[in-house]
């Protein structure tokens, strides 16, 4: 029933490598705006405004976070050796990410259980710290993956900052889409400095790559494919700002999302044909045997589209700004 002697299609390993990056991009963008919401949250101290932000965050964060699990489980299924080396090689950053996600996830839920101000202050702090630490740790891992620079290497640190910046931009756009009144106006205004900061981290990343040339990534940056991806990565958030200035907030969020996709595409073009350059493993070296990959294609493949359908339902149900009655978590 499942062909065991060859891949269903000759390019199946590359297709799954691309799918893996797609899951990563979905995560970086979707949970990115959750993280960014946590950063916007830190700038507000009005209780009603915080409740609005939490009501925007509540219904979607859990679903968004599953894209990280999708990335992890697709990685172990399709490229087990990369999964093992990448995660064990960035041990502390992975646990930093997991602990940050844990803190961020429970803080919103715990907060609403008691209205003692001291309790809420603790929960708020957890929420904000988790929202900043998670994208930073994710960037450390991604930097180590692409540039082989470990957890504390400069390229990894700058990648960490870039993901914090990206999340901040996405968070301001999402906050502007989901809120009303002063909060919405301030989120729109915050988009400009956030985008400037994000572009600054991208510039720092390019400078680091050119100066240090980790694993030859600095040189390859100017090949046509990475260059195009890099140009889109920089251009799309700027286009987004122009859209935001015309009050087209949904289009702004989309263009930030496509910008996040371009950043991951840049990662992919810098990696390929390697799956994990630091270990010398190419996509073809590391990919699972035909029977496993064919099975993954036939069983998980269709569900990938079903899952995208779930997200259409989710974001249709929770489209538009948060209603007055929805302030609060679990309301």
């Amino acid at each position: 029933m499942i062909p065991v002697d060859g891949y269903l299609a000759p390019a199946l390993p590359e297709v799954w490598f691309g799918t893996l990056l797609f899951a990563f991009a979905m995560y970086v963008f979707l949970d990115g705006f959750d993280f960014g919401l946590g950063m916007v949250y830190a700038t507000r101290d009005d209780e009603a405004e915080r409740e609005q932000l939490l009501a925007a965050f509540g219904p979607v964060w859990d679903a968004n976070e599953v894209w990280l699990v999708a990335f992890g489980t697709l990685l172990v299924a399709a490229f087990p050796a990369v999964y093992a080396a990448l995660l064990s090689g960035h041990y502390l950053a992975v646990f930093g990410l997991l602990f940050a996600l844990l803190a961020r996830g429970v803080a919103g839920e715990f907060r609403e259980l008691n209205d003692d101000p001291e309790w809420r202050r603790i929960c708020d702090r957890l929420f904000v710290v988790g929202s900043v630490a998670a994208p930073f740790c994710l960037g450390l891992i991604a930097g180590g993956w692409v540039f082989g620079s470990g957890i504390v290497g400069l390229p990894s640190l700058v990648t960490g900052l870039a993901l914090v910046g990206l999340s901040f931009v996405a968070g301001t756009a999402y906050a502007a889409l989901k809120t009303r009144g002063d909060l919405r106006a301030d989120a729109l205004a915050l988009g400009r400095p956030a985008t400037a900061a994000y572009l600054g981290t991208l510039l720092a990343l390019v400078a680091t790559l050119v100066a240090l040339d980790p694993l030859g990534a600095g040189g390859r940056l100017f090949d046509p494919a990475p260059l195009a991806a890099a140009a889109a990565t920089v251009a799309l958030p700027v286009v987004g700002l122009a859209l935001a200035a015309r009050n087209r907030v949904r289009a702004w969020l989309w263009s930030v999302g496509l910008g996040a996709g371009s950043l991951v595409l840049l990662v992919g073009t810098l990696l390929y044909p390697h799956a994990y350059p630091a270990t010398g493993l190419t996509v073809r070296d590391a990919v699972a045997a035909p029977v496993t990959l064919n099975l993954l294609t036939l069983v998980a493949g269709p569900f990938l589209f079903v899952v995208l359908g779930y997200f259409v339902v989710l974001y249709t149900v929770f489209s538009g700004p948060v209603e007055e009655s929805e302030t609060g978590y679990g309301g």
Binding site: A63, V69, T73, Y83, L87, L92, L101, V291
Partner: protein, 419 residues
Amino acid sequence: MFALGFVLGTVTGIPLSFQFGTNFAAFSTFAGEVIGGPLAFETFMAFFLEAVFLGILLFGRDRVSDRLYVGSSVLVMAGAWASAFWILVVNAWMQTPRGYELVERGGETLVRLTDPVAAFTTPRLPWLYVHMTNAAVVSVSLLIAGVAAYFVWANEESEPWAHALRVSVAVLAVAGVFQVIHGDAYTRHVVQTQPMKFAAMEAAYQTKQGAPLHLIAFPRNLGDILDPRAENLVSVSIPYMASMLASMGDPNAVVYGLEEFDVESPPVAVVFWSFRTMVTLGFWFILLGVWGVYRLRKGRLATRSRHLQLLWLSTPLGFVAIVVGWYVTEVGRQPWTIQDLLKTDAAVSPSVTGIEAALSLGGFITLYLLLLAGFLAGCKWLVDEELERIDEATAGAVAEPDVTPDPTEPVPDSGGDGP
């Protein structure tokens, strides 16, 4: 409480998808081609389903039709049960592996899938799936019964909680009895497929015909606590009983002892006591359930009684039983990570240092204790709030007797809905 439990389940479940890689890199490289598929299927068939529709279930009441709302609750349940299925496919394969071959790749030996159907439906799977899902039913019916008992104890007039108590006690009785009968048969399957695990469960060192069942047992020598020798055991035992249980009735059946196996033994005390704790709790749940059904038939279930008191004191014990049950399964399989195929000391990440492992373990212990404390505090606040609410509701009903059937009182639908 459902929402709180679900969020904690999510945030503590996500690390699992990564710990195979962080801490068991050698295992992931070795067996990734077999276990990766089911893990990915779990994500795409179950995890997304749960997470997306939980959002709608908890936050979407005013935004969706009744039909989509009810549908979401069913989908969350379907996702949870499918999730248990795929994760247990992986665990069952690690207990009774098949459908694979060993191949050389890049100088390393690893497992390659040869027959996915055989690998994903191993002999252990039906035992594990039925035992685990029914354990979940037992634990949650006890949780609901315990909370309901607490409220009924506090206020006997609260009809919704009396109703919850009746339903949950009946479910507890049926599922509790089934769990013990099924567990007995499951143990015989373990005798056949993992005799060394059974030897550890029974602290049997020497192979014997007519082996006794130790109710309790301690080694004379403290140094043997994790690896007891039978001749040094102080025990209270039922003669022939272990043989009878292992063979379905033959008092002279052979029970293989740990001495038969030429690999190091699992830490016997952990397995032995975990097993006894689980079984004792299993019988305790039957007692609570059957006693409850008896009182229900007498029409006295929802009145203050010793039974109600014991019920609410036992609220968390279902979860204790699940945890010690997993200790039996996982510690009992040591030294193997994959039975007869990969030992645990060969499964861990070679590059991870002791300091890193200690840091992450310390982090987990600290965070999970904080989560537990937060969860318990949260439950207490929710219970206190509800207590005030039902006191007000019933006080109102007493003051105005002609409005006793309170229309604002929702009929509990036995599923957990959001706060």
